[in-house]
């Protein structure tokens, strides 16, 4: 059973919602990323997204863009991230999903990439520039190796699109909270009632909201609509808030705990 499915089943029976946290792999170093994942798990994260750094991340706001550049400058690539996941798997069974751009997969070779994901213990992949229409390109391999492509739904997705996306979606639905790119937001302008009105009609798997969530207050505001919340840029900001590695790990741990307390 895919770890994502197992986790949501556990959460459901405990009457809880998922906290999904994001860090860019290799920001500031792969060693710190390893510590961050374990610290986030310890403080209540249920699933961790690892960002694979890319030169041109078009769905990201400035915070994650800069994290990408820091990681790339440090020489991080897919092979090294697979190595990190292998190490992590000796210590934790937390579901791990990669957030990455399609060119990195194409460059690695789709078959080899998904085979390697399965081998090292990656449970799913979120690919912001591979919409439903293009997902046929990897469907054969996600199926073959049991690695999920996590599908995204946006406030601009029509009901027709939502129904098609939900038809083949696996793991959880990544529901984008707002228009625009990733990054913390003061307020949400999306009509969640109406958006989830459509999503709930077709969703067969857990629904999680991401983009812009940065505080326990916002977690409280949104948790009623969904089965989990995804926090990215705000975690990256915590990493930047302390000068040394121990401080970074502690700050992210505290922040994770404050979010988990609301779920």
């Amino acid at each position: 059973m895919n770890r994502v499915d197992k986790k949501f089943a556990e959460l459901k029976s405990a009457g809880k919602k998922a906290l999904i946290t994001f860090v860019t792999a290799g920001d500031p170093s792969l060693d710190v990323t390893e510590r961050l994942v374990l610290e986030m798990e310890k403080n209540g994260a249920d699933i961790v997204e690892l960002g694979v750094p890319f030169s041109d991340p078009i769905a990201e706001g400035p915070v994650i863009q800069r994290a990408n550049i820091r990681a790339l400058t440090g020489g991080v690539n897919l092979e090294k991230i697979f190595g990190l996941v292998e190490k992590l798997r000796l210590e934790t069974q937390i579901p791990l999903v990669l957030l990455m751009y399609f060119n990195s997969i194409l460059s690695y070779g789709a078959d080899a990439f998904f085979a390697k994901c399965a081998e090292v213990g990656i449970d799913g992949v979120i690919i912001p520039d591979l919409p439903f229409e293009e997902s046929g390109e990897i469907a054969e391999y996600t199926e073959k190796y049991g690695v999920y492509q996590i599908s995204m739904i946006a406030p601009t997705s029509t009901e027709e699109r939502i129904s098609k996306i939900c038809e083949s979606a696996r793991g959880f639905l990544y529901c984008v909270s707002s228009l625009g790119v990733t990054g913390t937001r003061q307020e949400f302008k999306t009509d969640f009632g109406s958006l989830f009105g459509s999503i709930n009609k077709y969703a067969k798997i857990p629904r999680c909201i991401g983009f812009g969530i940065s505080s326990p207050e916002q977690v409280r505001e949104l948790r009623g609509y969904c089965d989990g919340l995804i926090v990215g840029s705000a975690v990256i900001k915590q990493i930047g808030s302390a000068p040394d590695d121990d401080g970074k790990v502690a700050a992210v741990g505290r922040f994770t705990k404050s979010l988990a307390a609301e779920l």
Partner: protein
């Protein structure tokens, strides 16, 4: 396979947030292109505002000097705003108006497309924001000021390498936040479907005119059409009409910067590999991990690490031929055409001129062949950079 494919290339590799906007754009464009009223209006602006048809000029002195085939120059440099960019921009802003959008955004490298977009926005009374790499805003200060005069807001993009590819990233990011009231006027035959098709269709007026003018002057088709290729819009516009005419060679000149054996060039089709960026699958210059590489050319308009998907397919099928031209060869051609014909070509177009000269000198043509070079823009904007390249110092103000 998804929509908008040219062989294996093209497609819609865009965030979910944009997919609805792309669907709406496709629907609106398919209606517009079959609406005689829309085509009439576009034709009106082409003729009355942009100065179309552009001339097909017989370069008699160049022909005599090279002693080879008959050389014709397609004078897109004589269009309003000085380049082919206006053809596409008029089409897209009219489409934007038809879709009820009140704001347009655009990306620009050297500033030619940005200036054209700002021009059309001024003409149709629309709000315009142009994304331009920070590095490019410094290199092309004059064009920034021109856009400001035209009423556009120029946003300097400091992310990534601060050049055209980053301006494209930022324009797409901005569009994901504003697609409801904003039309993205994309400047080349690239991006997610339907853009490569839309831009090619609006630019295809170039090739239709070449065919008509060549038939009128010579009574036969040209043997070869040569154009420079960055993203590839002027070349696609010049080539498209001739794709079924197998006797016509279609030749693209890419920017080889310091040379394709160095790491300072932008010769995508010569050195690149299959990738996905800016919403399309095409050929890109990338490292072993799929990271997009920094590119270089003396020509800011060809300074792009990818190429339009239809060109990638023309190369794959052998219908199009693509060759690299270095900075040095382009500057030589810039000076050559200026001296021989009294026409200062854009440094971008100079790559096409250089390719033509090279092919003639290599004996690739018979004496009665007809070679058409697309002079995609005028070179006034490049005088400073050519002077700098030649080591001549020019004071910017008199």
């Amino acid at each position: 396979m998804s929509k908008g494919r040219f062989g294996e290339y093209g497609g819609q590799y865009a965030p979910e947030t944009l997919m609805n906007a792309l669907d709406e754009l496709e629907k609106a464009y398919n209606e517009a292109k079959n609406d005689p009223e829309f085509l009439k209006e576009l034709d009106f602006y082409y003729k009355e505002y942009a100065n179309r048809p552009s001339l097909l000029y017989f370069a008699e002195k160049m022909t005599a000097d090279l002693g080879g085939p008959k050389i014709y120059l397609k004078r897109e440099d004589l269009n309003h705003t000085g380049a082919h960019k206006i053809n596409n921009v008029l089409g897209q802003t009219l489409l934007a108006k038809r879709m009820g959008k009140t704001k347009v955004i655009a990306e620009t490298g050297a500033g030619q497309h940005g200036v054209a977009a700002a021009t059309a926005a001024a003409l149709f009374g629309m709000e315009c924001e142009v994304f331009m790499g920070e590095e490019d805003t410094r290199r092309q200060e004059l064009n920034v000021f021109r856009m400001n005069l035209l009423g556009a807001k120029v946003t300097a993009v400091s992310s990534g390498t601060g050049t055209l590819k980053d301006a494209c990233n930022e324009a797409m990011r901005a569009w994901t936040a504003r697609a409801d009231d904003t039309f993205y006027v994309l400047g080349s035959t690239m991006g997610p479907h339907p853009y490569p098709t839309i831009v090619r269709d609006f630019q295809s007026v170039i090739g239709r005119e070449i065919k008509e003018q060549c038939m009128a002057k010579e009574g036969r088709l040209p043997s070869c059409v040569i154009a420079c290729v960055g993203g590839g819009s002027n070349a696609m516009g010049a080539f498209y009409e001739f794709i079924p005419d197998k006797s016509v060679r279609l030749v693209g000149a890419e920017a080889a910067g310091d040379g394709v054996d160095t790491d300072r060039h932008a010769a995508t089709l010569t050195c690149g590999t299959v990738g996905v960026l800016h919403g399309m699958k095409s050929i890109f210059l990338q490292d072993k991990d799929g990271g997009i590489m920094p590119v270089y050319s003396i020509s800011a308009g060809l300074d792009y690490p990818g190429v339009g998907p239809e060109h990638a397919n023309l190369k794959a099928t052998g219908r199009g031929e693509y060759y690299p031209i270095t900075d040095a060869e382009a500057v030589d051609a810039f000076r050559y055409l200026t001296r021989v014909e009294g026409i200062i070509p854009a440094i971008e177009s100079s790559h096409a001129v250089a390719q033509a000269v090279k092919m003639v000198r290599a004996g690739e043509f018979k004496k009665d062949d007809i070679v058409v070079i697309n002079i995609s823009g005028r070179g006034d904007k490049d005088v400073y950079s050519v002077a700098k390249y030649m080591g001549v110092e020019i004071r910017e103000q008199g």
